[in-house]
């Protein structure tokens, strides 16, 4: 059982532990934002079962751990880095090692004019006023103690700004390399990357985020990303969360969309012991659209949580969210999808679905799609299913000579492929498929018949 006191003292402890690392010489507006966040955090209610957003996701384990932001701990040995770094790709690559920008591993040359892609630190030093106008305007700093902690401990992250009508051809790839090193049990690493992405009117880009962790290290990765899509802007946003199986991972993504902007996200979750991803998406102007496709593979000793809040605040917007989960062993998943349609958001078109494939009896999913509609002329629907592999399908495949393990794995892949296929970068799609197949093949014999 956690108490409000426990929550506060944990927050204070992490604040103290991380403070030494937080950005020195922050501009005053940032200082203020930090203080606000700290202040707000003390006012937040307890994140427990009584709190709707935390109803199925216990933070107890996290509150029992304590973390450090120790500078030395951020040093990373080269061998681990080489192991973890995804294969070279045709992209502008930014690498954050344990939350800090690493210039040597990043390839920021050859950026076309009108495109800014740099570390948050660099951007703050070079153009604090530009940042000031966006920073914190999209996300709620104090949605939870974790977003407050991220804000209070801002250290580094990423700034992307694309000028009007610029179409960035090559994708931007952000790699978060995380490792807890060999810290002692009671001193695990935490990192709080903070990102700001602004697409000016008509700008187009593809953003890939990959989270990789050195197994079996324990750490707490707590990132917060703000995205603004101005009029007619279009962003494709792919995320592959493949943290260490012992890690805590929290991603909070806030997106605001102006008229005729388009957001297409694909989000895949494989790793982490406790992994939560929140999307807060607001349609602030008419005729905007978003499509978000998610996949989670959750096994023993894993909790994977997706929280979506889509707010139709203006008329004629269209949202699609499709999430699929494969659960095995004692895996636990939470899906909480909420669509809100304001009174004036007429002709909103929203669809939300969540389908779960349970490979074992012990796996568990809490799925809670909700629609909250105040307009009268809308087209909204949601649907969820929880099912098992179909014995008829397995029999059919086996009768053609395919062994049971392969048959199961093929059916699971068939279930998941639809989501992965939404990624329109071929190499990434292939890597994601390989990643999925590798785990499926590993888990199938375990679960047997």
């Amino acid at each position: 059982m956690i108490t409000l006191d426990r929550q506060h003292s944990w927050f204070e402890q992490q604040l103290a532990a991380g403070r030494a690392q937080s950005l020195p010489q922050a501009p005053q507006w940032l200082q203020l934002a930090r203080e606000d966040a700290i202040e707000a955090a003390t006012q937040l209610p307890l994140h427990n079962r009584q709190h709707e957003a935390w109803r199925y996701t216990s933070i107890e384990g996290l509150l029992r751990a304590s973390f450090t932001g120790d500078e030395q701990a951020h040093q990373q040995n080269q061998a681990t880095i080489d192991d973890l770094l995804p294969p070279e790709s045709d992209s502008h690559r930014v690498v954050l090692v344990n939350g800090q920008f690493n210039a040597r591993l990043s390839t920021l040359a050859d950026l076309p004019p009108g495109v800014r892609l740099e570390s948050l630190r660099t951007a703050l030093a070079a153009d604090p006023d530009l940042l000031a106008s966006w920073f914190g305007s999209i996300a709620n700093h104090s949605e939870s103690i974790f977003s407050a902690l991220n804000t209070a401990l801002i250290n580094d992250g990423l700034f992307i700004h694309i000028d009007q009508d610029i179409e960035l051809q090559q994708p931007i790839e952000v790699v978060y390399l995380n490792s807890g090193l060999n810290l002692s049990e009671d001193k695990q690493l935490m990192m709080h990357p903070r990102n700001l992405v602004v697409l000016q009117p008509g700008a187009k880009a593809t953003l890939v985020e990959r989270f990789v962790g050195a197994a079996p290290s324990r750490y707490f990765h707590n990132n917060l990303t703000e995205i603004s899509l101005q009029q007619n802007a279009a962003l494709k946003h792919y995320r592959i969360q493949d943290e260490s199986r012992n890690a805590w991972h929290l991603s909070s993504i806030s997106i605001e969309q102006q008229s005729h902007s388009d957001y297409r996200g694909v989000t895949l979750a494989f790793g982490g012991a406790w992994a939560r991803t929140e999307y807060h998406l607001d349609f602030n102007n008419e005729h905007a659209s978003c499509a978000l496709h998610g996949l989670y593979l959750v096994g023993d000793k894993q909790l994977t949580d997706f929280h979506l809040t889509v707010k139709h605040r203006a008329a004629d917007c269209r949202s699609r969210e499709q999430f699929k989960g494969i659960l095995y062993g004692g895996g636990r998943a939470v899906f909480d999808g909420h669509i809100l349609v304001d009174k004036d958001a007429q002709r909103s078109d929203a669809q939300l679905s969540n389908h779960n494939l349970m490979l074992t009896r012990d796996a568990e999913v809490d799925t809670k799609p909700t629609l909250e509609i105040y307009a009268d002329d809308v087209k909204c629907s949601h649907g969820t299913t929880i099912g098992q592999l179909d014995p008829q399908q397995l029999f059919y495949m086996r009768s053609r000579g395919i062994d049971e393990t392969t048959a199961r794995s093929m059916l699971c892949q068939g279930f998941a492929q639809e989501i992965i296929d939404q990624i329109d970068l071929q190499p990434l799609r292939e890597q994601a498929t390989e990643r999925l197949v590798a785990s499926l093949e590993r888990v199938q014999p375990e679960i047997g018949r």
């Binding site: 009768s399 053609r400 000579g401 395919i402």
Partner: protein, 259 residues
Amino acid sequence: MNQMKPNTMLSINNLTVEVEGKTILHGLDLEIGKGEVHAIMGPNGSGKSTLSHTLSGRDGYQVTAGEALLDGEDLLSLETEERAHRGVFLAMQYPVELPGVNNMTFMRESLNAVRRARGEEELDAVSFIKLVRAKAAEVKLDPKLLKRDVNSGFSGGEKKRNEILQMALLEPRLAILDETDSGLDIDALRIVADGINALRSPDRSIILITHYQRLLDYIEPDFVHVLSEGRIVRSGDKQLALKLEEQGYGWITEEEEAA
């Protein structure tokens, strides 16, 4: 029991099968020789599909007595996939849809699994595509269907052709075709029949489950059996099928009762 004739491929003796606690096959006997085509006819619900599922090892079909020997070896103790590896193929009455599983990938996986089991080399992607295209052309299956998900959204006839295509690829020793003719248009029936005839060989046996003489016009059976209430109640040559077509099953039941 094991007095098998040298020419025997499949020998079924006193096969008794329960499904969900209910006995469906009541001591069925059937002997299939190498190279032979046997037609099995019989009223709805008499146990024809139960027989074919039992021979393929589907879960839930409890064998409570009797045996089935393939080449003298106990077939019923093998896993479903092992039976396929030994050359048993079942074209299903209701082929199953596999959404998300690509037809081509599925067939390659299947063929290579069977080839591995036979000690043959696996086919690489290129040779497989060549092979499957050629076989698809033989059974006049629209090549577009190869790119779709297995049976997903296929028409009834397309599903049946897809089954025949798989049979042609796997070249089974014992093919069981469960009502492959139902749902086929007249041209398709001809094509499917040609496909089956092409597979006829001295070392391959075929069990044709059907309700209609029409299929037997194209594929001439060596034997015709009537399955009723879980037993083979009558066996004969192709003349028996003609008689059934004219007179139905009533006369057999009457003769049974009289006897």
